[in-house]
């Protein structure tokens, strides 16, 4: 796409623009849903488009188009110039001038492009079959999904940037309903990889089924203040919400509870939290971000102490720092915004069964609903509905549901006292985390 991007750059220059950045994207993707061992939906997609940012005296104007005809490119430049005229100025807003070479990561496996639709369908069918076979109480697999995307990203700018990379990803997902005695419980699981060969369809189906079935018979439990174990899916959901407060954007705009707390203890002293866009197996790894800035490894919490925040070019200039390569774009029509690449929760681990054996009374949380609506990333307070398994005298006893888990984010982080040995990638948000043990949580039941 470099010729189209160059043409846009040239047109913008002819209209008097000096600082110009053009972002291009083209991709193909597949999405397959199966239901009762039949293909229910198959979607084949091609997309491409161009986004243009024009910077002038600290203001920025953005425009995008999917139409790459001559007239449409003229229209694109006109819109960006109109928009820069309306935006307010800010001394820190300027064209990115990335330093350093792109990170040495190749998020692409050519086997993905060689896959046929028949092979993709076979993956989805196997996921569903495994879920149905895993437990006789599985009533149905409501959603079984295989999806992949194969795309290229291009950036050119008047700062001399001229970069591109190709990325591919595929995943499988199952959402299972199990039923017994009129009670329905649900469970889900994912697998993620760069090619079909990386996926283990049977494991995805069986795990989703197991997670639903183990909640059958669940009921409310008494209210208590007790340790809880968040399993990797639930932990990932919490860290996903928390990560927005670790962006410099939130800090600079007064929306983060972590503002001004660098160097302070904010979590249990064994907790490490790192953003790393360079991991070979990271689902969201890439050589550079949506502004052409090389991806990096950025420690956020180390030994329980807050290390710093994620930056794009703008927030870094404002803070007098360098961008951490976290100016992420959702696509050609979106502006870069500060967000994590791959988040990794790490630290010394303990075998999960040892952890459970040491809990006198507590809850293993396997599902939480309302994290995105029930957790306030500004104040850090949250109250969410959870399902899971009660732990009594070091053993799993009865499943629980319709209970709430409440607290505040900092209190929860400080309460982290152990990490399980079951770390894995959770593709929603691209987070690698083990089970996390937290002391002194408020569980609201009967």
């Amino acid at each position: 796409m470099f010729p189209v991007l160059d043409a846009v750059l040239e047109r913008a220059r002819r209209q008097g623009a000096v600082d110009v950045e053009v972002f291009g994207e083209r991709s193909t993707s597949r999405r397959i849903k199966v239901f009762r061992q039949e293909v229910e939906q198959l979607t084949a997609a091609r997309r491409r488009g161009v986004g243009l940012r024009v910077f002038r005296d600290g203001a920025v104007g953005h425009a995008y188009t999917s139409d790459l005809s001559e007239d449409a490119l003229d229209d694109l430049v006109r819109r960006a110039l109109d928009n820069v005229a309306v935006s307010d100025t800010d001394e820190y807003m300027a064209l990115p001038r990335p330093r350093g070479e792109p990170a040495d990561v190749r998020p692409y496996d050519s086997r993905l492009a060689a896959a046929t639709d028949a092979e993709r369908i076979a993956v989805a069918l196997e996921v569903e079959a495994a879920a149905l076979a895993a437990d006789r109480r599985v009533k149905l697999v409501e959603d079984t999904l295989y999806a992949d995307g194969d795309g290229e990203v291009f950036i050119v700018s008047t700062a001399g940037v001229r970069r591109s990379y190709r990325a591919g990803q595929c995943y499988a997902f199952a959402y299972v309903l199990a039923e017994e005695g009129g009670q329905v419980e649900t469970g889900y699981s994912y697998g993620v990889g760069r090619a079909l060969e990386d996926l283990d369809p049977r494991a995805v189906g069986a795990e989703a089924a197991g997670r639903a079935a183990r909640l059958l018979g669940a009921r409310k439990c008494p209210s208590m203040r007790a340790p809880v174990i968040l399993d990797p899916f639930v932990s990932a959901a919490f860290f996903g919400v928390l990560s927005s407060a670790l962006t410099a954007d939130a800090v600079q705009k007064g929306r983060s509870l972590f503002a001004g707390r660098e160097g302070e203890r904010v979590a249990g002293d064994l907790l490490e939290l790192v953003d790393d866009g360079t991991l070979p197996d990271g689902p969201d790894s890439a050589p550079f971000d949506g502004e052409g800035v090389p991806s990096a490894r950025t420690p956020l919490i180390a030994g329980g102490v807050l290390q710093g925040f994620l930056h794009d070019t703008y927030t870094a200039r404002k803070a007098g720092l360098a961008s951490t390569g976290n100016g992420m774009r959702g696509g050609y029509s979106g502006l870069p915004r500060v967000s994590p690449s791959n988040l990794v929760v790490a630290g010394p681990t303990t075998p999960l069964d040892e952890i459970v054996a040491g809990v006198e009374k507590g809850v293993l949380v396997t599902d939480a609903v309302g994290i995105h609506s029930g957790a306030n990333p500004v104040s850090g307070e949250f109250s969410v509905g959870i399902s899971g398994i009660l732990i009594e005298d070091g053993e799993f006893t009865t499943p629980v549901r319709e209970v709430t888990l409440a607290g505040d984010i900092v209190g929860m982080l400080t309460g982290v006292r152990a990490l399980g040995d079951d770390a894995r990638w959770v593709p929603a948000g691209s987070i690698h985390t083990p089970s996390v043990v937290i002391d002194g949580m408020t569980v609201g039941g009967t």
């Binding site: 449409a72 935006s87 409501e142 609903v369 509905g385 709430t404």
Partner: protein, 466 residues
Amino acid sequence: MDVESFDTALLRTTIGRALRRGGDFAEVFVEDRESLGLRLEDGRIEQTSGGRESGAAVRLLAGERTYYAYSDAVDEAGLTAAADAVAAAVSSGADGVSIVDLGAVFSAPEKHPVLTPPAEVGAADKAALVRAGDEAARSVSGEIVQAVIGYGDTRQRVLIANSLGDLVYDDRTRTRFTAQVVARRGDVIQTGHEAVGGSAGLELVDEEGARGVARTAADKARTMLDSRPAPVGAMPVVLGNGFGGTLFHEACGHGLEADAVAKGASIYAGKMGAVVAAPIVSAYDEGSITNGWGSQAFDDEGVPTQKTLVIEEGRLAGYLYDRLRAREAGAAPTGNGRRQSYRHIPIPRMTTTYIAPGRSTPEEIIAATRRGFYAKSLAGGQVEPASGNFVFGVAEGYLIEDGKITAPLRGATLVGNGIDILMKIDMIAGDFEVKTGICGKDGQGVPVGTGQATLRIAEMTVGGTG
């Protein structure tokens, strides 16, 4: 690209090409969308972004199977490639249905009149709206520390042609103005949110209107600074008008969508005519409300939108259908086949869904509640359609003591089950109001209205931190 003058011969050829190896329904969806968005934060308009996206999708149905292909290239090559992709996916190899001429042309430009088309108003005037909002929010109190003011407009022109011979043109303009305000006192930080939106132009909001929206959001945030942690436990819950309707949308509405019903993944499956709510409850989905945010003349399958009775005096009366699920069930489509864009398969979606107003007044309802929780405004929530279990965050909540609204409460969530709470509704007021939102399902966001009058649920679990 101009949707109105799109080559109908190419549409007909594409439909035929899609059907050549099998299938019983084919459709071409062509879209041209222009958008503009402004976002003010920290007192600055920091983002002004706009653009034009066009694309085309070909959909093929074969029994209960759906094959879908789309391309950002709206030309003969793009449509041919899409038609070939869906045809290649059909395994039957049998000839598809023969297609009829594209004879019946439908459009309804007068349904949602646009008085001031956004394209005819300069970006500077739109910028003035968000600046007025920022100024109004900050003038509410010195404790207002942040305001995020947003303005957005879109004009989406679509063309839908199918093998039934329908050719539908729809021209949809939507405008929305939003305010999210943060108030701070010491370590306590609270937020307030308000929005207006409609299938309308700039007549929807002028500078005074913008100030009003921003002030409402600022008042919410400031009020919540005085809040104390909400109690935990079961108690009567009074849901406020407008935003309170989100609860019905999430906890019940999604279970009425015919895809969840057909899969047996809804608590409402197989319950037509059965009692699913208290007798004072009737509810509708109405995609045809004039200028409504969730309204359009036709759905994204070219079916005219309508008012659908879903609960009649406590009994289940209707589901929300797209074409596919209506065919399966032998029912008529209800104008609920919606898609976010040409990149998305149409599925059954709500438009504006609401519990019909009742005969009480909000004052009577509060006065009749000795001790309870008043959820004036909800923050959104999640629901499992299979069980109907839900959790909702409360954005603005108060304690009710001795029939009076007293202390503001923070950090509350409402936990319950969809059928259970509908059965427990025991009072409904007449102060009906509709609020605007974006509803997400299967990775697709579509504009929806949620509404209701003030109502009371006799008992519900409140999860708080106090």
